[in-house]
């Protein structure tokens, strides 16, 4: 990995961590488990669209591990990891299929899969099938927040595509 790319990826990781920590200070958007803005996903989207899926995975992994070290909540790590893995897989596939030109669609798909993963984890943790009734609420919130983060990524990409370090 070139030093320049390493530096840019490290910068993105730091940004993601900063966004994540600021978001964790905000009060919950709705009193339902699993609903959040997911603003740190903007960075994952940016790296996914500017560089490769492998680089985005590295940045995401570094962010998750560092945030677990800094704000550690072992329990929430389990189900956000479950959602995060599904979300990342879906976004990688979507950005490839869409030739990296529609970050908002990619992001919405990521949001949907993030929430499906979270519900599956909650189902495993609580072992109560009743938690499935949260799914429609989570899916709607995932689509709305996914659209928002996707649009943020689109506007950021418009400027970042001029970066000489891209690809």
């Amino acid at each position: 990995m070139h030093t320049r790319k390493l530096t840019v990826l490290a910068l993105f990781t730091a940004l993601a961590l900063a966004i994540y920590s600021v978001e964790s200070l905000l009060p919950p958007v709705a009193p339902l488990p699993g609903i959040k803005l997911g603003l740190a996903n903007i960075i994952t989207l940016l790296v996914l669209h500017l560089y490769t899926a492998k680089d985005a995975a590295l940045v995401l992994l570094a962010r998750v591990l560092l945030s677990a070290l800094l704000f550690g909540q072992a329990m929430s790590l389990l189900y956000s990891l479950c959602g995060g893995l599904l979300c990342f897989a879906a976004m990688t596939l979507a950005s490839r299929l869409l030739h990296r030109r529609f970050p908002e669609l990619t992001s919405i798909l990521g949001g949907i899969f993030h929430n499906i993963g979270q519900i599956l984890a909650a189902l495993l943790i609580t072992a109560v099938p009743g938690v499935l009734v949260y799914l429609p609420y989570l899916l709607i919130s995932g689509i709305v927040t996914g659209l928002f983060t996707g649009l943020c990524a689109r506007f950021a990409l418009r400027c970042l595509r001029r970066l000489p370090t891209s690809r």
Binding site: P28, P31, P33, Q73, V128, G130, I140, I143
Partner: protein, 136 residues
Amino acid sequence: MNTLSKRVWLLAGGIITILGCCVLILYLRQSSIQGSDAFTACLYQDGRLLQTIPLDQVTETYRFTLDAANGGYNIIEVSPGGIAIVEADCPDQICVLQGRVTDSLLPITCLPHRLVIELQPGAPASSYNSPDAVAY
């Protein structure tokens, strides 16, 4: 139409279909709970049914503490026709923020303590269950 725009429309259509289904499910659930006013609260911890409380038979508000397996606690307030988690030592406090629940629309969940309180319409199968443990 080239492959890319076909994929875009397919994905957008799929997303809108999911959104529509979710709104429909929410609407149907909302209208299905209207008309029933007697609910039974079922408390699950670690997937086990701990106790059932017929909320229409509650005449006085009382509180009790549920200890979680990992050392945490939830203080539950049972009132006539409703149930709420009023205090918990979990980090996110989502269960407390959800407030008093009086219908079966949404269960109260405390994921860190693996606790779910689900309201079901009607009386429980067994006529009356008193709480196993009450701490005031």
